[in-house]
Symmetry: C2
């Protein structure tokens, strides 16, 4: 099982080795006399920092590292101030006053962690603020060199944080922004896979065995239904990342979330379609065949449009290659409406079956609207994120369908 | 805004005060001579432990506390062993061997964190294992009293962990199990609110202003669509909690997740219904009115059945008071099917409108199936979690509708 974990995502092995390397590096603070002399046992804070700061992605590591370093600096300064203030009152009052400071500070900072804006970005910093303020002000009661202690803590945490961030960024970095980017485009692909298969699956004369085999592939969209939380987290972490590759520092992550929401709404409709695919009460083939023609076209053209959109997002190109597919599916939609008007409702079959086919048809019509919205959002993203303008050299039309390969979208990776 | 945060959930203020109290308690280790003599500056680990272990809910606090304590014990023992082994090789080899140990240990433990079963329950423990092993084995190179250091660390972390857990459990505890329990029942209620309102909203002659006001209430179900992740987290944390109130130690949290999944599937269908509610292309009233009668009954009876289910889950009672509502909605379903067969498809209106009404009708039919599944799962939960058997003293039937108040479900809270 461990082997499979590593094979599924070799970056896991790399990450484990990176953590091991960073820890070995930071433990050098103990081995080399000149390094150790300056810090002493406080060097253990550096070890602690490396372990708790080092995360899988660059964004998470930098976020935690900065949170830890900044809040340590501020809290250590305040802690020293609190200690000084308390010593003014003399030996009797000192512990009482410090206890009071700690109580008030901990109460306020803990409550701050409930503020949603703080929670998403500075939760860890507030936690460390609590730790440092308390440590510095309280241990000052015993160890009178409180300024030195605060300074040591800031130093060692900075050293540990920098080692963790450096190893994370410079050795095979995992950018959470790229992960989010790919996730958004993969989500679209998963929907596209369903739509491309749906027509054939739904209208084919049932051969039970084949259906079962395909279902795991076709149901890939299910993960999109509940992916909102993890996408939000990724966008929050991606904000910490510096510019890298085609991603600038202030990349429009908000717009990614918007582009991510629309496929989810589309996935709700696909979930409804999938119900009809797996439903036990199947409509007779003769009723299905009424709407078959335009429905198959809509489903597969919508799938193709989504695939094009997914590709252009993935490759960071401005591309309008989805438009002909959307146009075709809209034509088919008119045809489908005409078929419903002229034949479906006048068919002598059981009305319940007719209604079911009508429901499938109307879901397909809604999906077209969804795809159009996704296309709009993706275009907006393309302009906000400065995707590269690509003039397709070959018009991806039926006239040139021989050349309709993937090469009409030129990547900017080269 | 801070005031609103506190008013929305006063437990946040209580939690902040609890953290402040625990920190003040643990800082006593520094103030009192007899306590301080035994531990010295190592007492700061206790402070650190209180801050990082103290979470909002009992489950999370106990989970982190146990993870931290157990992994510290094991890692400290191993760290001491590694140090001993390394010293055998003499001064030259010692740092090299320790560095090797740290590298191997950190690599393996970090990789273990990717195993899904470990990640859900022992992620924090593995992190702390890394910290402690590294600290103990490495600082042993400088400070030869490495056994004492390991022992101190175990002691102080245990003290800190116990203070955090004790304050969390004994002062106004927030049980995550109860939260999950209430969440599941609230989710059902949210769906029920929609269903109870849907009939009136959809079929009423449109008065735009009123629609807008109600929409925020009626759309409460939307949070159910994406709540899967947080429910899973809650169930994982709830497993750490000891028995409390009506919740035993091995409460069937898995079954809660199953009962939580079904309302989500129902919510997908409700999302589709809501589309028809807000859609711009409204069917003419005359077409709507064909299916109005049975549709309104289905929708409101399904809503009532869900409310009964939600109440019996919330109050932990076995109740069959939802059954008459499901029965009524099934009767109405037969009626609806008959109406579709006899009138809807023969109506001279635009076929697209007829199909839309058909879609609404078939969604309502599917929702009945959903509610039945929810009822089954809730009954299974009731028997697994030993909900109390309640014989309704008043039959919640139409014959006794005067007495149809909430008092026929007897709570076991008293």
């Amino acid at each position: 099982m461990l082997k499979k974990l590593g094979q599924d995502d070799p970056r896991r092995i790399v990450h484990s080795l990176k953590v091991a390397l960073a820890l070995t590096l930071v433990s050098m603070l103990f081995y080399f006399e000149p390094l150790y002399e300056g810090l002493g046992l406080a060097a253990m804070w550096a070890i602690l920092t490396v372990v708790v700061v080092f995360e899988f992605s660059v964004g998470a590591t930098i976020g935690r590292g900065l949170n830890r370093m900044m809040s340590t600096v501020v809290a250590a300064a305040l802690g020293i101030g609190a200690h000084r203030l308390a010593t003014l009152t003399g030996n009797q009052g000192e512990p009482i006053l410090i206890a009071l400071f700690v109580f008030v500070e901990a109460g306020i900072v803990t409550f701050f962690r409930f503020i949603p804006q703080m929670k998403t970005r500075y939760d860890y910093g507030l936690l460390i603020f609590n730790v440092t303020f308390c440590l510095v002000s309280v241990s000052g009661y015993r160890d009178k060199v409180v300024i030195q202690m605060g300074f040591e803590r800031v130093c060692t945490i900075t050293i540990g944080g920098c080692i963790a961030v450096a190893v994370c960024v410079f050795i095979r970095p995992v950018w959470i922004g790229v992960e989010l980017h790919n996730r958004i485009s993969t989500n679209m692909e998963k929907l596209a896979n369903f739509l491309e298969e749906f027509g054939d699956e739904y209208f084919k004369v049932s051969e039970n065995e084949q259906t079962r085999e395909k279902s795991s592939f076709i149901e890939g969209y299910k993960s999109v239904l509940t992916s909102k939380g993890s996408e939000n987290t990724m966008a929050n972490l991606a904000r910490w990342e510096p510019g890298h590759g085609n991603f600038r520092f202030r990349h429009p992550w908000e717009q990614y979330l918007k582009v991510g929401t629309l496929p989810r709404q589309c996935a709700f409709k696909i979930e409804a379609l999938n119900n009809y695919l797996t439903s036990e009460t199947q409509t007779p083939q003769e009723v299905k065949s009424i709407i078959q023609g335009p429905s198959v076209v809509i489903s597969s053209e919508c799938g193709k449009a989504l695939k094009e959109l997914a590709t252009s997002v993935k490759k960071m190109t401005k591309s309008s290659s989805n438009e002909p597919h959307i146009a075709k599916s809209k034509d088919a939609a008119e045809e489908l409406k005409a078929v419903i008007r002229s034949s479906l409702c006048k068919h002598p079959a059981d009305s319940l079956h007719i209604i079911q086919e009508g429901a499938v048809a109307s879901l397909l019509l809604e999906i077209i609207t969804c795809i159009e919205k996704i296309a709009d959002a993706a275009h907006k993203l393309a302009s906000q994120a400065h995707f590269k303008d690509v003039k397709p050299t070959v018009k991806p039309d039926q006239e040139n369908s021989v050349n309709d390969g993937p090469h009409h979208v030129i990547t900017i990776e080269g």
